[in-house]
């Protein structure tokens, strides 16, 4: 199936470039290590032979697209990625109808390299080979061989995904997959909500205790396209730059908050983190709140106004002081 998808991806990309319908195709190519896929831009029909797809193509390619409405291009997108195209369109960062050809991948669930790294318990630099055999993922290196259940190392966002098929008009590279729009995305959030405030403090202190402030989570995010991030402002400086706990927590609070009502839960932030912090819990909480308050999920429809850009006179006010 993967083979057929890759062939169709390459053929479609080649045709689009050869016929001059697009100037570039944003896809992936194979990396130099197991589980390493690279974002790759094909600009000539010949380069399309390097396009690739496998279970580890987890970064969101919308993050790599040029900003603005100049140029025409194609981009490989799963359900979540396609929703980010919608968000960028809503935010006037691209023109989805005129500019973008979507090479849609109905998503069967992606594997998370970070979960496999964690499963090796500190042997990830040693990983020589990762093979998928049925519902097992075989991970091996000098002196070890692990057999992991596929479900254990599937991305949490994929296990709870409601929209695996592209939500916009696209050239589908495979058959659509069945969808369950009622899947529970909020189990982890509810677990944390159920904790006492002091326990939640401990939970988040521990969660972010290993953060090194490398900003990979921000830079991998297709929503984070500001010319100058609040983190980098120096006149005035909004946020302390050290890894002191308050600064780190504030950074993660603000980063997540800036994604409120916009996050499609593509999971690129978590996949990019070099120390394996599951920081999606924050964006999930925001999207849960927004779904409950306004019945909105980000990036499903370019015609709908995002909820944090509009208001209704009867919006809840129970947070108000008086």
């Amino acid at each position: 199936m993967m083979e057929a998808l890759i062939q169709k991806m390459r053929q479609t990309a080649r045709d689009l470039l050869a016929q001059g319908q697009v100037e570039a195709v944003y896809g992936y190519t194979q990396g130099s290590a197991p589980m390493a896929c690279r974002p790759f831009v094909a600009r000539t029909p010949e380069e399309t032979d390097r396009l690739w797809w496998d279970e580890f193509c987890v970064l969101n390619l919308v993050n790599f697209l040029p900003r603005g409405t100049e140029g025409r291009y194609a981009v490989v997108a799963k359900g979540c990625d396609s929703r980010n195209l919608v968000v960028r369109h809503q935010e006037r960062q691209l023109d989805l109808k005129e500019q973008v050809t979507v090479l849609g991948v109905p998503c069967q669930g992606m594997l998370e390299p970070e979960l496999i790294r964690k499963a090796t318990e500190g042997r990830e630099i040693d990983i020589r080979e990762v093979r998928i055999e049925g519902d097992q993922v075989k991970v091996s290196g000098p002196g070890f061989e692990l057999s992991l259940n596929k479900a254990e190392v599937t991305r949490e966002t994929c296990l709870t995904c409601r929209h695996p098929n592209p939500v916009v008009e696209s050239v589908l590279l495979a058959e659509k997959v069945p969808e369950d729009p009622d899947r529970d995305k909020d189990a982890r959030v509810r677990e944390v909500e159920a904790l006492a405030p002091a326990e939640r403090q401990d939970f988040f202190r521990r969660l972010f205790s290993t953060c090194v402030r490398c900003y990979a989570c921000r830079n991998a995010c297709p929503l984070c396209y500001c010319n100058l991030c609040f983190v980098d402002e120096s006149k005035p400086q909004w946020l302390g730059k050290s890894i002191e706990e308050a600064d780190t927590l504030t950074y993660h609070f603000l980063r997540a908050y800036h994604c409120a009502g916009r996050c499609t839960d593509c999971g690129a932030c978590e996949s990019a983190c070099p120390v394996g912090i599951p920081m999606r819990i924050l964006t999930r909480k925001l999207e849960k709140d927004i779904k409950e308050a306004y019945g909105y999920e980000a990036g499903l429809d370019i015609e709908v106004q995002p909820p944090l850009t509009v208001f209704r006179p009867d919006d809840p006010e129970n947070f108000m002081h008086e």
Partner: protein
């Protein structure tokens, strides 16, 4: 240099003895993430563990407090900065040879540059107070390449003591006086000729198991501007996120920023790790940025490691081949590949 033998079953006892005299750190896995942690006597490390972050932090911590001061105009010596040097003896066990070598390479910049009259007292203090206990690599890993940058899987540079895994026991090499003091904290027997030979054999096999032929230093062209102008940079930058993963996991990336923080009228000046990937790193107060885009920033990182640093420090590369950047870069920018392409046409 003496060679001693420690039974593997006694490793925990040895480390407990060390922990009485030193603040001891060992690699440990918590929630699946391997890193250096304070030694847990209940869980001595039983195998080679490769930590996500390097030992850089023991010499150049992510935050190093440098000065204290008072801005209270009534205070004695108001606004005068008082040095705060790090205190306390530290020992680190389980250090890979690549990591240990990074301490020497960074030391060239901080304390051992013959062309720089200024030395860093903070780095020096930590060098003086820290003992590194190595654990050789019997089996080099998939993405590491110490041999291609002048190192060895069982190299001794930068270490005070080195453990070589001989199966049931460790051969313990005493490499410095500081290492000798640590070794004397627990009883060990002298190694016999057969054991020394076995250790040499382990090191030889480890080295031979690494792919041959590839030397990064030779891959890099000599002409600075010719490499600088290669199309490689634009091509590679296209997927670069410009995050700080590579610089922060890298043992030899040492750039830092200096900041002040004040609470009330008490202030502190400290340095923190910085990254050449960040726009603020080079931004002028006027708004001009000499490295305005990710292409220039990514280029500077590789040029620094593989060209500028060798130009300044007798051909030594600012890379120890630990493989962390290859493994953790979210977009798989592979320094081995970049180096190979830095050979100008």
């Amino acid at each position: 240099m003496s060679e001693l033998i420690l039974d593997k079953a006694r490793l925990g006892d040895f480390l407990k003895a060390v922990a009485k005299e030193y603040q001891l750190w060992t690699p440990a896995v918590v929630d699946g993430v391997a890193d250096y942690r304070p030694f847990d006597p209940e869980r001595p490390p039983e195998r080679k563990i490769r930590t996500r972050l390097s030992i850089k932090r023991f010499f150049h911590p992510q935050r190093e407090n440098m000065f204290r001061y008072s801005t209270d105009p009534e205070a004695q010596e108001a606004n005068v900065l008082k040095e705060t040097l790090p205190q306390g003896k530290t020992a680190v066990f389980g250090v890979s040879s690549c990591d240990a070598r990074s301490v020497v390479l960074n030391g060239l910049v901080f304390v051992n540059d013959p062309n720089n009259p200024n030395q860093c007292p903070y780095y020096q203090a930590r060098l003086d107070q820290t003992v590194l206990i190595g654990l050789g690599c019997n089996e080099p890993c998939a993405t590491c390449f110490c041999h291609a940058v002048g190192g060895h899987p069982c190299g001794e540079e930068g270490l005070d003591l080195q453990f070589i895994d001989l199966g049931e026991k460790y051969l313990v090499k005493v490499l410095t006086d500081k290492g000798g003091q640590v070794a004397s904290l627990h009883e060990m027997s002298p190694a016999g000729p057969a054991e020394s030979e076995a250790a040499r054999e382990v090191a030889k096999k480890a080295r031979e198991s690494m792919p041959g032929g590839f030397k990064i230093g030779q891959a890099v062209s000599q002409d600075l501007m010719a490499i600088f102008n290669l199309p490689l940079w634009e091509e590679t930058a296209e997927r670069c996120l410009n995050c700080g993963v590579c610089t922060f996991v890298c043992p030899t990336c040492y750039c830092f920023d200096i900041l002040d923080e004040v609470q009330g009228q008490e202030g502190i000046r400290f340095r923190i790790w910085d990254s050449c990937m960040f726009p603020l790193y080079t931004l002028h107060a006027s708004g001009h940025n000499p490295r305005p885009d990710k292409k220039e920033r990514l280029r500077n990182r590789f040029m620094h490691k593989l060209k500028y640093f060798p130009d300044r420090y007798g051909g030594k590369l600012s890379c120890v081949g630990c493989g962390r950047c290859v493994t953790y870069c979210p977009v798989n920018i592979d320094i081995r590949e970049v180096a190979a392409r830095m050979k100008a046409v």
